[in-house]
């Protein structure tokens, strides 16, 4: 006991280590609370099965001819619904008070959000992978091939990550995780249903066609169909990337501001 050990507090972690630690936490949450993810993915899975086998024949002549049209749409729906969790997770952290502990640590301040984004990527890949595998099991063979499908998933990830900034901003404004979830659902369901996910807008009334045409989800779905269908359109892909950039430009600074303002 007369010898006093000379070791002291370790140096604080670098930005990357801190980000990875938050990413590790996000992955653990997927493992411990998988129902959170799968409850949401169930909806597009059921829609894929239901629309293909119930309405596929009526809409496109046969389920097999309808599926290539539908699947890129339900893929988009799955990943966009999952993107809500960015806001729900942040809201949970803030309302439970764990962010206070993070703020008292000598870490790179954006690390909690950067790490959460890593977790989001994992969630989106799981959702996209499940819907794609479902499609393959149902007999869908993307004409765009593996590269086209990967490109489609990549574009979808870029858009979903950009949209997740809108959810984080919402998560910092609303009081409870449930409120974030219900607001997110109220926004996403009309956007995904009143789009070209399930049917081409030709037969819709004029006012609805007008909405579907400006709906960003329609543009995203068209771009996805192009990539997976082997006829990619540079114009559509550019449109989606610009929309994604606009979402980041508005909501990332807003999130940062709201996060900094929280006590």
């Amino acid at each position: 006991m007369t010898v006093i050990v000379t070791s002291t507090r370790p140096e604080p972690p670098g930005a990357w280590i801190a980000t990875l630690a938050f990413g590790y936490r996000a992955l653990l949450k997927i493992r411990h609370v998988p129902e959170q993810l799968f409850d949401v993915i169930a909806i597009p899975v059921v829609f894929t099965l239901m629309f293909t086998y119930l309405f596929g024949g009526a809409l496109a002549g046969s389920p097999g001819r309808y599926l290539p049209f539908l699947l890129p749409g339900t893929l988009v729906m799955a990943v966009l619904l999952v993107s809500m969790y960015a806001g729900i997770g942040l809201n949970t952290d803030v309302s439970k008070g764990i962010t206070a502990r993070f703020r008292s640590l000598p870490i790179w301040p954006p690390a909690p959000i950067a790490g959460a984004i890593l977790g989001d990527v994992a969630r989106y890949l799981i959702a996209a992978g499940l819907v794609t595998i479902l499609g393959v099991i149902m007999g869908y063979r993307p004409p765009g091939g593996a590269y086209g499908t990967l490109a489609a998933i990549g574009l979808l990830l870029a858009f979903a990550l950009s949209l997740s900034w809108a959810w984080t901003a919402l998560g910092l404004v609303l009081r409870t995780p449930q409120a974030v979830m219900s607001t997110g659902t109220v926004v996403l369901f009309p956007l995904t249903l009143a789009s070209n996910v399930f049917v081409a807008p030709r037969t819709m009334p004029g006012w609805l066609q007008a909405f579907v045409r400006v709906n960003p989800v329609s543009h995203l779905v068209t771009a996805e169909r192009g990539l997976m269908g082997g006829h990619p359109s540079a114009g559509q892909v550019t449109w989606v990337l610009l929309a994604a950039a606009a979402l980041v430009a508005v909501f990332a600074p807003l999130t940062a501001w709201l996060y900094g303002r929280r006590p």
Binding site: R9, P12, P13, A18, H32, G97, R101
Partner: protein, 288 residues
Amino acid sequence: MDCRASDRCLRLLACASVMPHLILDDYVRDNLTLTIMYEKRYPVAVEAEGLRKRFGTTEALRGLDLTVAAGTVYGLLGPNGAGKSTSVRILATLLRPDGGRAAVLGHDVVREANAVRRRISLAGQAATVDDDLTGKENLLFLGRLSGLSRSGARARAAGLLEAFDLAGAAGKQVKTYSGGMRRRLDIAASFLVPAGLYFLDEPTTGLDPAARAQVWQIVRAAAESGSTVLLTTQYLEEADRLADRVAVIDHGTVVAEGTPAGLKADMGKGTLDEVFLALTREAEASAA
């Protein structure tokens, strides 16, 4: 080694013989060194002058002054809404004061927030752990965030789970823990790396008497290791038992300050409860 340091060693030894399971891992020895180092450099752990903070129309702090000597346990005592948590949040760099200044271990909490964060540790109401993760995962994750290596975090987590009597529940999700287990994990997390100053914000609020006694034991062990502990509490008994000095806070200012024994003697009261009631009644009267 100066005489203060050797005195601490003796106290530590005494403490270790009483609570061998809680203390005397490497951490405590590290902490001892660190605190002696801190004490040499900063005899004062906390120095706050005229702290003001307003939330909307309510004034949470109206000119709060506080001086905490290094190496002591200091109790911030006050009813709900008195400004205890706001003070801790400002001192732990979570909130910026609207007015006044504060330094923690020689560093300004606003201008040198990061230097302060490298020297403090926060637990209690103001900080929490992740419900979805297991106890062990929480400590591994927070250990990495505190700058421990992967293997260092693993070793530290195992040691702390053992010391805080949580080894059996290490692999269970925190949402299945009792209130006392949660609080122990939360405090364990704040001991992952040595700190010059521990903030324990209402560490026993909502705990049953047995769990409260366990937390008290931990606070004493931390204090015996030589660190400074700033403890907020609504329980007078807790301040009386644990704190070397106490500040009674009401309506955002310090209404009395001193040793628990001194306060009782000054006011001619037998218990800190009576002191507290008398003081808060005075404050009510002057506010009216």
